[in-house]
Amino acid sequence: MTAPLARRSMSRRRLLQSAGAWALASPLLAGAPVAVAQEMPAIPALTSFLAGRSPRWERLRLELPALADNGQAVPMRLTMVGPFAPGPALKSIHLYSEVNPVPEMAVFEFPSPPPRVEIDSRIRLAGSQRVVAVAVMSDGALFAAVADVVVTIAACLDGS
């Protein structure tokens, strides 16, 4: 009678310990200069855009709230760390949605190099998903960032 309980409390303790360790480690990870490699979400439009190229999970940052109450307008921020000059300049940033009926959300273009890469906008999200941003540099290099969003009230993009 007591043995299963003891076993259970042990595993619960281990779970809490690992959760604690993770909580301690994650701010360190967030502050680390080298981003952790992510798995690219399988979005057909994105796959064809990438055409076999694999962006580096560096420099570009996509900020979205972890929890969005209303999918109709979710604040978004794109930032990219320099230096850009004299190296390759930023040409464009492509934004892809995992579940929206139109996966190509937006393309931000920089015909002349911006003094600072910081773009704010508001996006529509048809449900909880990952959003991917891919930056294209003037030398063809690609950088990517991904953000996970939980959407409580989805934008009724597909009429359902």
Binding site: P101, V102, R122, R124, L157
Partner: protein, 106 residues
Amino acid sequence: MADSRINVPAAARRDEAIEVRISIRHAMETGYRADESGKPVPRNVIRSFACRYNGDPVFAVRMSSGIAANPYFRFFVTARESGTLDFEWIDDAGTRGTAQAAVKVV
């Protein structure tokens, strides 16, 4: 349509980053919505938005229904010389909108 609100600093120093904020009044109809009578509302979103600084293109957005109604953008432009920022956008219905903001470089 063609209603917008723009916010740029009153003055900037040469080579400084100018913060530009613009919000355009537009429903950004997705085409997936039905009106009260159940008739589908045709898609009509702003397809492209562009910003020029004294005629030179500096920033542009190509967008879909993935951008929220009343599109809002905040971005940075390098202050070069006094002049104007010209904004232009066009939607699926072919309606064009324009706006201007003066830039004073001291």
